[in-house]
Symmetry: C2
Amino acid sequence: MVEYPFPRPAVTVDTIVFRVTDAVLEVLLIRRDASPFAGSWALPGGFVHEDEPLEATAARVLGEKAGVTTYHLEQLGTFGAPDRDPRDRVISVAYFAIINGDPAVDKNAEWFSVDDVPPTAFDHDHIIATAIQRLRSKLTYTRIGFAFVPDVFTLPQLQRTWEAVLKAPLDKRNFRKMVMADGQVIATGEKTRGGAHPPAMLYRTIQPIRETQ
Amino acid sequence: MVEYPFPRPAVTVDTIVFRVTDAVLEVLLIRRDASPFAGSWALPGGFVHEDEPLEATAARVLGEKAGVTTYHLEQLGTFGAPDRDPRDRVISVAYFAIINGDPAVDKNAEWFSVDDVPPTAFDHDHIIATAIQRLRSKLTYTRIGFAFVPDVFTLPQLQRTWEAVLKAPLDKRNFRKMVMADGQVIATGEKTRGGAHPPAMLYRTIQPIRETQ
DNA sequence: GCTAGTGGTGTATAATTTACACTACTAAAA
DNA sequence: TTTTAGTAGTGTAAATTATACACCACTAGC
């Protein structure tokens, strides 16, 4: 045991999961069944286990509490205001995740538009706001945006996703030039089928999307 | 006491303090006198006290362990690998600080060029590398660089500082245009005296530099 | 008064970003 | 079978932003 003359804080990981569905950026919340804030919405979170890396806690919590397997996962920041948990000193390391598709989530979990987040427990409003800001900012200078779409995707699909995140329309031709500019995205040769419109070319990134930091 | 069936980790704050002196970007390390890593260089750090906000821990640690009062202070990230401290599970929230001038530091503290950092305790090499990367990146898109110079400064002085951080020469005329472009920097009307060269105009920012995130 | 050292200034070119409109393909309805 | 709705795909010109570049002038010290 280390020399440590102070009561130790509890350490949790809270996770912000983003997805885009029907042109809406959404965040996943779970309904708390335990005190404090029982019945409130909250970010999926949990205590850090002994010998568990923080990122592993994030991944575990997402699986256990939300039924979600993540694609992109990165640390957002650590929130440690002394009064953020009414019970005790709890320091929370926040991670944010991006997923694509519509996985079956836990029955206590629900997606909310980021424009319509209900009141949340603890300081989770603040954490969510910070995450949205970070997400929007990183969309433009990292490859993070590809985590919202499957491995194989069309450019209109990707554009609609980005527009949902940024909440702003993007020019189609300029968007395509921008995406293709650095050679990270290449055509598969396949095209979509179906829909009352021409088939769209399917693309993929030459490297899987990893945490870009 | 909160329901928490796991041994609690200890939580520390480690701080990376940057300054620029003689066109060199430097970081402050202290020599450890306690085990583990006694005698090694390490980042100034300390345990988070009960009811102490994380940022307050950072400021306190800098004062107590390094004798430094900071100007700019922001959270870098949290490092929690289970084996990063050989004694026990210790999760460290890292902050980075920027100061200007040459304050009297603690006798155990010493400045090192970022190009010549000695081996350090724990995972502090990794934390320092992360901080340098973040600093360089944020220099260009935030006002963070002004924290390296006093409230009143000359443009050549500011340019030399930025060149030290980026380790690259900058064009004088373009640098001045860039700095003045957004109207955040204004001339005081005063000029420097002394030096075998023309007096330089003194400038200041219209807003004090705060944490820009 | 001469010299070393450096503060201060503008313009032309290149690179990047932005604005913008039509054709053609598919599915579904008439 | 024809028509219609919906949307994929494509290029260029203009504006903005970033880059490259050289000389004069002021001060201190010799």
